[in-house]
Structures are given as structure tokens and as C-alpha cells.
């Protein structure tokens, strides 16, 4: 303790230490390793060798799998939009209108996490199946073509992703809405804003940090997801996650898998930076006007 008292500058360092150790050993080191392996050539059997001239791994992978990248972005984007459309009204309701039911509803939001991700996704196969509780009655009533199907379509993949990640959108939005001082809304009304005006000028801008966090928490895992495409899609709905998974675990083509992963990471970082700029605090302020 005496040392800390003599060197108060050590305090932040000590506080950061556990996180730093964790990140260095489980994030930074594997990433360096992965970056290195993306410049490998060779096979598992013959052994790998490193050379910067193997940068062609990147161009090859991109050329071969650009479709999967595009699909991942599209699906991730669509799923994030759907999540937002579901999450915002729900979070708004829980934060502003639910009264005493609030904690019960919040519990329900996270309740799906008590079942494994895999099981829940398999569950969707039943829900979306050709004679399922959704399609069955519709077909029986003659409302849809008897040959119509949801399962193994892009729709099913997007629906699955949206379903699995919607809590990650709801919770941050809820937190930011819940934090809003209700008197600010009264103040807005006092200053001639209608309910809609108060929502647009006060509630929405103040919920922006939650929307930002929620979209990232949804979009980032969605874009790299492979389980939903695997279980609910078809060979034409594979995402980049499926490719990486196959390259790493089935084909053992580590260099290609590493290059794909690295590009995905860069893509996401670039996307986050752009999004952050678009929704940045300065912008927030002027947009709210």
C-alpha cells in the first residue's frame, strides 16, 4: 500500500492490469499469430512457411469469397435493422410505460439466454418448417402457395440472426432510455413541443448512445455469424463466417482462413469508425436541432 501512496500514478496501471493481461494473451497474441499465418503458404501435411510475398492470400481469398462477404454485410445489415425495429419500441415500452412489470419484462428479454444458442436456432427449424405453426395454417387456409417455404432461405437466416441478437439491441437502448430524466420531456412540452416533438428532439437524441451500442453489438456478431446460415440456410446463403469455419476446421487451409478473418476484422473496424463518425457527438448535437 505504501508504494501506491508514494506513486499515485500507479493506480490506473494497476486497475488496467487484469484486463491488459487478458487482452494481450487472448486477443493480441492470437491476432499476431493469425496475422502471421495469413502470410503462410503450404498445407498442414507439408508444413507452412512464412513469406510477405504470400500477400496474394488476401487477393485470392477476396476474389474467391467476395460473394460471401457481400452476403454477410447484407444479412448483418438486414438483421440489425430488424432488431432495431423490434427493439426500440419494446425498450421504449419497458422504460416508459411498463411500470411495475419492468423487471419481469427485462427478465423475459434475457430469458432466451438460458437455452443454448445452438438449440434455439434448431428450434427455429421447427418454427419455420414447411408444415410448421406458421406455414401450416396459412397453407391450410389457402393463403399461401402449398409449395412455399421459409426454411433454407435467406429470409430464414436473417430471421434467425435477428432473433438471436435482438436482446443485444434491446438492453443498451433500454438503458439509455431509462436514464432520461422525465422532467426533460416535461420541459420540452413546456417549450411548445408536442409529444412527437419531444420524442424527436429529446428522447431520440438522448437514446442515440444506446442505439449506437446496440447496433454494434448486433451487427458485429451478425456479420461474422455462421450458425444461422448453417442451420437455417442453404448452400447459396453461406456467409463469410461459414467459409472461415470450414477453412479452419474442415479444409485446414489456415492461411486463407486467417486472411479472411483479418479482412473481416478490418471491414468491421472500418464500418464502426464510419458509423461512429456519422453518429458522433457533434453530429448528435446539431441533428437534434
Amino acid at each position: 500500500m505504501g508504494m501506491i501512496r508514494r506513486h499515485p500514478a500507479l493506480v490506473p496501471l494497476l486497475l488496467l492490469l487484469p484486463g491488459l493481461v487478458w487482452l494481450v494473451s487472448f486477443y493480441l497474441a492470437p491476432n499476431i499469430q493469425m496475422f502471421a499465418s495469413s502470410f503462410w503458404s503450404g498445407t498442414l501435411e507439408s508444413g507452412f512457411s512464412f513469406s510477405f510475398s504470400n500477400w496474394t492470400n488476401y487477393t485470392d481469398a477476396l476474389g474467391k469469397y467476395q460473394q460471401q462477404y457481400a452476403r454477410s454485410i447484407q444479412y448483418g445489415f438486414a438483421a440489425t435493422l430488424i432488431c432495431f425495429a423490434i427493439a426500440f419500441p419494446l425498450a421504449y415500452f419497458i422504460a416508459f410505460k411498463a411500470g411495475r412489470a419492468r423487471s419481469a419484462l427485462l427478465f423475459l428479454v434475457v430469458a432466451p439466454f438460458f437455452t443454448s444458442y445452438l438449440l434455439r436456432t434448431i428450434g427455429w427449424r421447427t418454427i419455420l418448417g414447411d408444415d410448421s405453426i406458421i406455414l401450416g395454417p396459412l397453407k391450410a387456409a389457402g393463403l399461401v402457395d402449398p409449395a412455399a417455404r421459409f426454411l433454407d432461405t435467406p429470409f430464414a437466416v436473417i430471421a434467425g440472426i435477428a432473433y438471436n441478437f435482438v436482446p443485444f439491441m434491446i438492453l443498451p437502448i433500454y438503458v439509455s432510455l431509462e436514464k432520461i430524466d422525465r422532467r426533460l420531456l416535461e420541459a420540452a412540452q413546456d417549450l411548445y413541443a408536442t409529444s412527437w416533438g419531444a420524442f424527436r428532439r429529446v428522447t431520440l437524441p438522448l437514446a442515440m448512445p444506446g442505439i449506437f451500442a446496440g447496433s454494434l453489438l448486433t451487427f458485429i456478431p451478425a456479420i461474422g455469424d455462421f450458425i444461422n446460415a448453417e442451420l437455417l440456410g442453404n448452400p447459396n446463403t453461406t456467409m463469410v463466417g461459414n467459409v472461415i469455419q470450414r477453412q479452419f476446421l474442415v479444409d485446414r487451409d489456415y492461411p486463407t482462413a486467417a486472411a479472411l478473418s483479418f479482412m473481416l476484422m478490418v471491414l468491421i473496424l472500418a464500418g464502426v469508425a464510419l458509423y461512429g463518425r456519422l453518429l458522433g457527438t457533434d453530429e448528435l448535437t446539431s441533428k437534434a436541432i
Binding site: E186, Q189, A288
Partner: protein
Amino acid sequence: MEVTPRVAEVDVRLVNVTKKFGDAIAVDAITLDVSDGEFFTLLGPSGCGKTTTLRMIGGFEQPTSGLIELKGVDVTFLPAYERDVNTVFQSYALFPHLTIYENVAFGLRRSGIKGDELKRRVGEAMELVQLIGYEKRVPAQLSGGQAQRVALARALVNEPAVLLLDEPLGALDLKLRKQMGIELKRIQREVGITFIYVTHDQEEAMTMSDRIAVMNKGRYEQLAGPETLYERPSTRFVAGFVGASNLLEGKVGSDGDDWTVTLPSGAVVRAPKSLGDIGSSGAIGVRPEKLTLLERGQQSKGNTLEGTVVDTSYLGVITQYVVEGKGGLRLLVSEQNIDRTTRSDTWRPGEQVTLTWKPEHGFVVGDAASA
């Protein structure tokens, strides 16, 4: 400004306004008129219904029964955003995501004012509250006093018919509070807008208000100017809440033009009937500074009581004494220190004294039920 004399118009009228929360009555059948340009104050202890009354005028709460008029128009059920009223909230409620400029401009923009007029009016409001140069900051970068002034500017800039202020100085320290109080009064005179001001601080109320309604348990017990409230409080509650007073309780009687109260000690004190109605169980009161201390045995006209000094506190401008008499009587006396010409020293605890005051310097409070 027009100079034609006119009868003060009624700006805000409450008729039998009651507000219940469940079974609890927060505001109990209040009826009052506030005139145009008046600085009107609702004064009372915590929980007496001041905020609720103000919120009903502002449109944030609807009365359970009764009528609210603004400028002769029934607004009882009009939403807040359609009322020509603005509020300075107790907590200021500044928009944290907007600059000071945009906070002040908020109401104007909602009313469709833009361009040069917007700039001019925001500028004028900022000048009025002396915050020029702070336009680009956000509320988190302001001190309490500055935030309070922004809240004021944000409301005043709309030039509402009535400005509602809910303990706007509550969060400030004593010195700043006094300073801002003077500022508020200056601004109110300058802009001529009707102010309805809520506070539980009687000193604040006294220095700023034209009229004060002293509230207790959802109703007001007396509505009068500061001077009348102090000189002629009409209920025990008002006498105790506004300034310090000595209430002389006992058997009430009548003798010619005077009310009499026979104290438990047998002493009789008087007050002219012209001071008010004592009812059957009222009391005669007297403010500490209206009492004069004499040496025991000295004769005096008017009311006299005998007692012993038990406590002396020198407070600079005045010296305050606690004097105990027979029958549990305990009186507060304050003597201006200018009177040192008549006596070279303060009275000391243990000294026997005679207290005296002119009957017309007292006041009369009525029955508790007549409040």
C-alpha cells in the same frame, strides 16, 4: 409602453382546484386570482402542495376537480404545449445534449421562429441573464447559478403570459441565492411578465413578492402582501411560518374595543379588535422586536408581563433574549443594538424584567378552523 391607467387584469385564476393522488389530497379546493404583471408567491412547508398547484397551472397535471383560467380562457384540460405559460423547473431540466444557445432557442424554434429574429431574441435573453459568451457550452459545463439563469432565459425568451418558477434558487448556496433573488426581481420588473413563484423560504418570498399565499396542507391560510403577512398574520400557522412570533394563548374575552386573553398566570393582555377576529379560541401575538424590556418595577402603559431573562444571544444588528414568565410562558425578544444608549449593556440571564408592548403593535390570530 402605454400610460393609460387600467385595472389590473386577472392573468391566472384558480377556482376550487382540487388534486387528489389516490386518496391523498395534495391540493384542497384552492381559489385564487393572480393579476397581470404580479410577482405572486406560493409559500409553504414541504409537501403542502405548492409544486402540484404549479404543475396544474403549467399543464403537467390535471386537477381532480375545479377550473383553471389563463387570461380568461379555460385551460383546465389544455396540454402543456398549448399553454402560454413557461416553467423554470426546480432541477432546471436543461437539455444535456444541446448547447446553451439551443436550449434557449428551443421554445422559439418550436413556435416556428427562425433566422434573424431567433438570433436576436436568444441574444436578448442571454443578455438579460448576463450569459453572453456561454452560447456554445453545454449544460454540464455550467455552474449551478449559471444553469439557473439559462433555465430562466429559456423560459423568458418565449415571452409567455405567465412564468412559473418552482424553487428556482433551491440548489444554490445562501449568498448566491440572495443575489439571484434580487436579479429575478429586477428581471421580472424589466419584462413585466406575471411570475408565480414557489418557495419554502419565507425570507425569499418576503423580499421578492407582491403577494404571497401561505400554504398548509393543500390550502392557503392567508393571501396578502409581505407587510400584512408579517404585521397581521391571521392564523397560528402563518404567524409561525412567516418570521418569528410570540403567541399568547389563554382564555379569550372581549372588553370594549379590545380583545383580551387571560394567560394561565392570570395576567391579561389586550389587542384592539380592529386587528382582526380572535374567534373563540384564537390568540394574541406579538413579534419579538415589538417587545421592550424594562427593569422590574418600571411602569409602562400597554400590555406588560413579568419574567426572567434565561438566554441572551448577541447577533450583531440585534440582541436576542429568551424571557420566561409564570405559567410556562416563554417569549422571544429582540432588541436593536442601537438602544445601547438607554442601557450600557445587554440583559444578562437571571435578570428580572418587565416586558411591554403597545396593544396595537400585537396581532390577532383566529380560530384554527377559521383558517
